[in-house]
């Protein structure tokens, strides 16, 4: 039983081998193509070279354009932050709270009495 099962598998693989052999490329053509690969750079090598060249160009463009750009300096000490909710802190008569009253000048004018 086991033997027959194994024979069946072997037969199936033999059929597969026969079908594969029908599309077998000639040996001379395969060897010639292999020798041709030695002379010509492969597709992968070209792809890597093209990618490396593109990266170098991108890096150069980034470096040189970066120098041409005018610089804008920011004085951090002069910066005032205005939050969007600042208006909530504005009260009527708020300027009275920010100034100190001058007590010496306050008095009654006798002429108006």
């Amino acid at each position: 039983m086991i033997e027959s099962k194994e024979d069946e598998l072997r037969e199936r693989f033999t059929a597969l081998r026969r079908e594969d052999a029908a599309g077998l490329p000639p040996f001379s053509k395969t060897v010639a193509a292999a020798r041709g690969r030695r002379a010509a750079p492969g597709r992968g090598r070209l792809l890597v070279l093209a990618t490396a060249a593109a990266l170098v160009v991108a890096a150069l463009v980034f470096v040189f354009r970066g120098h041409d750009r005018p610089h804008m300096t920011i004085d951090l000490a002069a910066v005032r932050l205005h939050a969007p909710t600042d208006f909530l802190l504005k009260l009527p008569g708020a300027d009275l709270l920010r100034t100190v009253p001058r007590l010496g000048r306050v008095g009654l004018d006798r002429r108006t009495l």
């Binding site: 052999a21 077998l24 060897v31 292999a34």
Partner: protein, 168 residues
Amino acid sequence: MSPEALEVELERLHPAAFGWALACCGGDRAAAEDTLQASYLKALDGRARFDGRATFRTSFFSVVRRTAAEQRRRRALWRWLPMASVTATPDDGPDPAVALTRSEGTRRLLAALVRLPRRQREVLYLVFYQDLSIAEAADVAGISLGTARTHYERGKAALKKQLDGDRE
């Protein structure tokens, strides 16, 4: 081995090597031809050494297996490169035109083999397709004899189960 003798050996082995390359490339004919060319180049340039410890057949099959794995990794890497879409090739797998010329039995066998783990598939291919012993298959796959035996038994059982399941 002289270059002339090497070429004679490679020519003698060519049909079997192509079958093995097809198995390593999941039935993709273009990838198999590519793998075989790269393997021949390694052999002819002396980058693959045949030191006589194993037979020439098992040594060369080992080279084909490693080359197919390298090319699989390279293809996976290309997908990540920014310009990969420029030279994109169709997905790996059996060619639809070739699949149409297959007999029903072979098509079912290939479908069942695809579902097996890679190691089991490799050992079964080497034993049933290439008529190698389990020890020689272990040598090609780069695994111990015991591991190869386990893969052989499990793979055979899984393949039979799948083929019987298809029949029902």
